[in-house]
């Protein structure tokens, strides 16, 4: 996935881990509203941002994605009351730590998008894609199978 990506045609590949109740619904709304946003993001739907194991982010990067977006309900709006508040602490540690060991901050981005924010969802995807595009293809942490 990663070796032949340094050509002109390289497009960032982004995985978005999103909560079922807000961000996924927000994505739906963006679709129903016919909003345009870049097709670089693959959504993975999870029950709640509290269910997102920080390991998912690390594994996605290991598998060669250029960026990971994590999005849940706004604080106070979590379907399970406080999943996102617990998640916020985990991700604060995670983003700091990944950056500390030298992984660019914009490779792992965290945000909140509610079910009524279809328009925000489209903007988030557009801006995140641009941020990751600016970084170029991911090179760190990737598991290159041929070097085994």
């Amino acid at each position: 996935m990663t070796t032949e990506t340094k050509t002109e045609k390289w497009e960032p590949r982004i995985v978005a881990l999103v909560c079922n109740w807000c961000t996924y619904a927000g994505a739906d709304l963006a679709g129903i509203s016919r909003l345009q946003y870049p097709p670089n993001v693959s959504l993975i739907r999870l029950p709640c941002s509290g269910r997102i194991n920080p390991f998912y982010v690390v594994k996605a990067l290991q598998h060669g994605v250029d960026g990971v977006l994590v999005s849940g309900c706004h604080p106070g709006e979590c379907h399970y009351i406080s999943g996102n508040l617990a998640a916020r602490r985990k991700f604060a540690f995670l983003q700091n730590f990944l950056n500390y060991i030298g992984i660019e901050k914009d490779r792992a981005i965290f945000t909140w998008v509610s079910a009524s924010e279809g328009e925000k969802f489209a903007r988030v995807i557009t801006e995140v894609t641009e941020k990751v595009r600016a970084l170029g293809p991911a090179t760190k942490l990737i598991k290159e199978l041929d070097c085994v």
């Binding site: 390991f55 730590f97 925000k120």
Partner: protein, 336 residues
């Protein structure tokens, strides 16, 4: 025999003779010079094995956890009338007592299952510093005499000062006295005055990203994934560790450098708010991986973001066991 050692033995003897505990976990002289090993004393005839000196390095809390959890496991299929209790006594310095606090907070056992023999601790000898002090030669014999460490190598005898070979984590430790104890084997002592505990983190964070990554990946390349660091860590007590899982296989079993990095990122991440900086993982690592530089970052974030120090207070919740509505969220991305 130093006064602390004497008191440890006295207390161990009393506890065993009065049948207050089933086993005393402490340190005994090791088979190599300037080394000690953990020991498990079950009868008061053996208390003379117990020692206390700057060669006592390991955090013994992990053995308390395994003794108690194995006992609990063994009681599962026993008839109710035949069930027994097990009480463990442990020789605990500051960091060990903090690990015990973490176990208690995480409901691993009850406070009455463990008797804490508290020790005021001035630090232990760092194996890497000692090695550097004798130019990497093998230590054939060694002894500690006050503030001097006398070592003998194939090139002859030398003398090093104790403070020079004391581990970094000890020199910056703010918990020289146990945070909880049942008995103190000595007077409480003041902590070392360290101006900036987190200098190691700030210096590293000031490097350019590419250099940080180069350092991290070079360190992790040394790792042979023996998992000794995980095995010795008192906060790594899961029955099945993520590295051993195959469904899903979080960490590949091969020798891929990326799997080393992922293993360490996740092991360290699990230490967020749970690492007491005891240095045991650094001490057991045969490859000299600089784990502390990375672990200390989590420690710093824990303090900066949530005002918490791992295991410092029994009634203060760990950062990832709780949350506040107004937690720091500057890192949350908002589109323009």
């Amino acid at each position: 025999m130093n006064p602390i050692e004497e008191k440890i033995r006295e207390e161990a003897k009393r506890l065993l003779d009065e049948k207050k505990v089933d086993v005393v976990i402490g340190y005994e002289t090791g088979t190599l010079p300037l080394q000690t090993a953990p020991c498990f004393i079950t009868s008061s005839d053996e208390i003379d094995r117990l020692v206390w000196n700057p060669c006592c390095k390991q955090n013994l809390a992990i053995y308390v956890h395994s003794a108690l959890s194995q006992h609990r496991e063994s009681q599962k299929r026993v008839k109710p009338e035949d069930k027994t209790d097990k009480v463990v006594a442990v020789v605990a310095r500051g960091c060990t007592s903090r690990s015990l606090v973490i176990h208690l907070q995480e409901k691993q056992y009850n406070r009455e299952d463990v008797v804490i023999i508290g020790i005021p601790c001035q630090g232990y000898i760092d194996k890497n510093k000692l090695e550097a002090g004798v130019d990497g030669l093998e230590v054939i014999a060694g002894s500690i005499d006050g503030d001097a460490v006398k070592v003998e190598t194939s090139k002859g005898k030398t003398e090093l000062s104790l403070i020079e070979v004391t581990a970094d984590n000890c020199l910056e430790c703010r918990f020289c006295n146990p945070v909880i104890h049942d008995f103190m084997a000595g007077e409480a002592i003041p902590a070392y005055e360290s101006d900036d505990e987190f200098a190691v983190v700030d210096d590293f964070a000031a490097l350019p990203e590419a250099e940080r990554w180069a350092y991290f990946s070079a360190e992790m390349n040394k790792c042979m994934r023996c998992y000794a660091c995980r095995n010795i860590c008192p906060s790594c007590y899961c029955k099945v560790c993520f590295v051993d899982q195959s469904q899903p296989e979080w960490v590949g079993a091969g020798v891929n450098p990326s799997d080393n990095q992922v293993f360490q990122i996740m092991r360290m991440f699990h230490m967020a708010g749970r690492c007491v900086d005891c240095g045991s993982c650094v001490e057991v690592c045969a490859e000299g991986v600089d784990l502390r530089k990375f672990l200390k970052k989590l420690d710093k974030d824990d303090l900066d973001l949530y005002g918490h120090r791992a295991g410092a207070e029994l009634d203060k919740e760990a950062p990832l066991s709780t949350f506040r509505e107004n937690d720091e969220e500057a890192f949350i991305f908002e589109p323009e």
